[in-house]
């Protein structure tokens, strides 16, 4: 790892010692070195590969795939209850496994968990009619069954992130008999009636936004629109400040790689099936059906009161995507007596993929799970 100082704080000689010409020369030499070395770090960082933790494919359905990460501890030193990670249908689940040393999967595995990941896959035009609820109530239970079969355990821990958290909640709300031991949800929207600071509620206001017409035209929500939409939530930070941050980090190869890993994940998007987007807007943002117990599938209704297992609800202090009040409502909606709300410093993505994750979010989750997974 190479590290060197930024040019500005070490300007030498000063004008008193050698005059302006020498000062300028020293400054430019150092700035040139900074940019040259920094550019080298940046160009090297393009070689980063996301999702490197060794794993085995154990099940597929359509584009969805279930992976089991190879454990780093012998069976006798592992927790009895496996953990299933469920990410959103937007973006790739590699946020859980960015790169060695910056990987939640690696952290869980080294803490003795048997880790499984449900990757929804990259949907094609043929998947545009699959609803959010079909993914939740048809795909997810099958994946859970496979985890039980592969691990030999009687119950699992489930961890959902963002939209994946909502799907995990809906699954647990629909199937009160689900083999869950604990449920962890991260930055998960649940009560869409709490619209304070909710920019999406403004943008997707039914008075101005015709979701059916848009999906009839586009068939799906293209990844470019999703990316631009999420960047426009904080335009200056996402289009300008992020590159200033990179410039400030250019002296350290490791810091540049960490930045690049997160940046690559941000830009590795995928189209969202049209029906999923319709369900998200109409059933959740407009009608708040999950919180109201009105989500139904094959004649059954999903009631959050059915969730009686311990729940860890993690909120990001500076979440600009999921409003705080929306996510924090969970404790009043579930039937569980053991609900803990944990607020972690950072943003919606930063709490999981940022460099502070390994000292803030990840240990908090592991500690909570370890107390309940024996």
């Amino acid at each position: 790892m190479t590290a060197f100082a930024q040019p500005t704080p070490t300007l030498n000689p000063s004008p008193k010692d050698g005059g302006m010409a020498e000062l300028a020369q020293a400054f430019w030499e150092q700035a040139l070195r900074w940019q040259t070395e920094g550019a080298k770090h940046v160009s090297e960082s393009f070689e980063i590969e996301l999702g490197q933790t060794p794993r085995d494919l154990i099940w597929t359905l359509n584009k969805a795939a279930l992976y089991r990460y190879r454990p780093s501890r012998p069976a006798s030193a592992r927790h009895a209850t496996p953990i299933l990670l469920v990410y959103a249908l937007i973006n790739r689940p590699t946020i859980f496994d960015l790169r060695p040393g910056q990987s939640f999967v690696e952290f869980l595995r080294d803490a003795g968990f048997d880790v499984y990941l449900l990757d929804w896959g990259i949907p094609g035009p043929e998947d545009n009619d699959i609803s959010l609820w079909e993914y939740t109530f048809e795909y997810l239970p099958r994946a859970v069954r496979k985890v039980l079969g592969a691990s030999g355990a009687g119950k699992i821990n489930m961890l959902g992130y963002c939209q994946g958290g909502l799907m995990a909640l809906a699954y647990a709300a629909m199937f009160s008999e689900a083999p869950l031991r604990n449920l962890v949800v991260l930055t998960t929207p649940v009560d869409f009636s709490k619209t304070e600071n909710d920019i999406f509620a403004v943008w997707l206001d039914k008075r101005y936004f015709d979701v059916d017409k848009l999906m009839d035209t586009l068939k799906c929500m293209p990844e470019g629109l999703i990316l631009h939409g999420s960047k426009m939530l904080k335009p200056v930070e996402n289009y300008l400040t992020t590159y200033k941050v990179l410039n400030d980090k250019m002296g350290s190869a490791d810091a540049v790689q960490a930045w690049q890993a997160l940046n690559r994940w941000t830009h590795e998007g995928q189209d969202l099936p049209g029906q999923v987007f319709r369900d998200w807007v109409k059933d959740l943002i407009w009608d708040n059906k999950l919180a109201r117990g009105e989500v139904t599938w094959k004649g059954r209704a999903a009631s959050l009161k059915n969730i009686t297992v311990p729940v860890l609800n993690v909120l990001a202090e500076k979440d600009h995507i999921v409003p705080f009040a929306n996510a924090a409502s969970l404790k009043d909606l579930v039937g569980s007596a053991d609900v803990r709300t944990e607020v972690i410093a950072g943003g919606h993505v930063g709490i999981m993929g940022g460099r502070a994750a390994k000292t803030r979010l990840w240990p908090a989750i592991v500690k909570w799970l370890e107390e309940r997974s024996l």
């Binding site: 500005t8 070490t10 000063s14 600071n197 206001d205 936004f209 848009l214 939530l233 300008l240 400040t241």
Partner: protein, 145 residues
């Protein structure tokens, strides 16, 4: 810092100014995109786009489909339909797999129960000595049945 010089102070001030400038823009634009006016403007822009570019796109799709039909080639819609049928089959296979697992588990449990019930009389009777061939002879025909 004790070794701060006028130059480093100037550079730090410059950095601070840059931060203030970015924060100012961030606050202004951040607040701007949260207003109902912005939401309304986006809705109107989309409406305009859908009634112009969107309809052209739909017409193009229709024409392509007609062309493919005349050329006896499968359209995207038809291929999607085949893909959906494959997924449905995958689900049915998955359900069968689940039922098979149940059957295997049931047979395993039954087999264990039978073994336990068969071993119970042997345990209650006096243990046969290895040299007791008469006892083995008596048991063998029963085992063959």
């Amino acid at each position: 810092m004790s070794d701060a010089t006028p130059e480093t102070e100037a550079a730090e001030s410059l950095k601070k100014m840059q931060g203030i400038w970015l924060d100012g823009w961030s606050k202004m634009l951040g607040e701007g995109v949260q207003t109902p006016e912005y939401g309304k403007m986006m809705g109107q822009w989309m409406e305009t786009w859908m009634s112009t570019g969107g309809s052209v796109r739909q017409q193009l799709e229709q024409t392509t489909e007609q062309y493919l039909e005349q050329m006896s080639l499968p359209s995207r819609k038809e291929l999607s339909s085949v893909a959906k049928r494959i997924t449905n089959l995958e689900m049915k296979l998955d359900d069968l797999d689940a039922k098979m697992d149940q059957v295997v588990a049931y047979i395993g449990a039954m087999s264990q129960a039978m073994q336990a019930s068969l071993s119970t009389p042997a345990n209650t009777s006096a243990p046969a000595a290895p040299s007791d061939r008469s006892a083995e002879k008596k048991r063998k025909p029963r085992a063959k049945k």
